[in-house]
Symmetry: C2
Subunit: 160 residues, 2 copies
Amino acid sequence: MSSPVYPLSGRPMQMGLLLKLPYVALERHLTRRLHELGFAELRPAHFAVFQSLMPQGSRLTELAETAGMTKQSMGYLVDYLEGHGYLRRVPDPLDQRAQLIRITQKSKKLDEAVETVLNELHDAWAGRIGRAKFNELRDLLGDLVNALRDTAGAPVHSRR
Amino acid sequence: MSSPVYPLSGRPMQMGLLLKLPYVALERHLTRRLHELGFAELRPAHFAVFQSLMPQGSRLTELAETAGMTKQSMGYLVDYLEGHGYLRRVPDPLDQRAQLIRITQKSKKLDEAVETVLNELHDAWAGRIGRAKFNELRDLLGDLVNALRDTAGAPVHSRR
C-alpha cells in the first residue's frame, strides 16, 4: 500500500498524524464500547485523567502537567469524574494542605473493561495488517516510548 | 528494553498510550519550535484544525466531525485562527447559505515551518531508536492508517 498523505498538502503524512489517527480511532471505539458496557458517562477527554494518574494518587497540578493541559481544564475533568464516582480526593499524607486524587472501586471496574475492549481492538487491528506486523508495530512503539521517556526535559509518568 | 507499563495498573501499555505518548511529545516539541520561528499564537489544540482541513476548504461541521470535537469547540478554535490570520471564511460555492473555512498565505508559511520542524524531529527520533527501526515504524503506522481508513464506519479525511 502507498503511504497515506495529508489531505491539505498532499505530502506524505509525518509521524504526527500517523500516530494521531489510529489513536483517535481507538478512543472512539473504546468510548462506544464502554457506553455499551455501562460506563455511559465517559467521554474521550476523560482518558487523559486515568492515563496520567499514579497508583498512590496524584495532585491536580501533576495531572495537568502530565496530560499537557491547563490546571483549570484538568480540574473540570476531575470534578466531573469525581461527581460520577470514578475519583475521590483525599488529603496528601506528605502535605495536609494539599489533596491527592485517587481512583475508586468503580474506576477499577472501568480499568478491567478498558483492558477487555482494547484486547478486542488489538485483535481487530492485527486482523487488518497481520499479526506479525501488529506485534512488530507494538514493539517499535514501546521502544520509542522508552526512548522518549529517557530524554532529559521530556519526562512522562515520572515517579514522585 | 522492556515494554513500558501503565503507571496506574503496572500492566503493559496498550496501543492507546503507546500511540498517544509520542504524539503528545511531538506536539509539544512542534509548538515550542513554531513559537521560536515566529508562529507564537499557536497552541497544540490548533493542530486538529489544520489536520482536518481539506484543500478546497471545509465546513465547520465537517471539521468538528473529522477531529471528533463538538461544533462549538471547533468553532472556538477556528475563530481564534481566523482572528490571527491563519484562516478565512468564504461562501460555499455549492451552497451560498453555507461557509467554507480555508487556509491563508500565512497558513502556507506555517505548513512549511511544520514540515521543517517535523523532519528535524524525525531525525532525532531515528537517532534514538535507530534509522532502520524508525523507518519500519513509520511504514507500519502507514499500513495501519490505510487499513483503518478502509474500515466502514471509521472514515478519516473522506473527500467531499
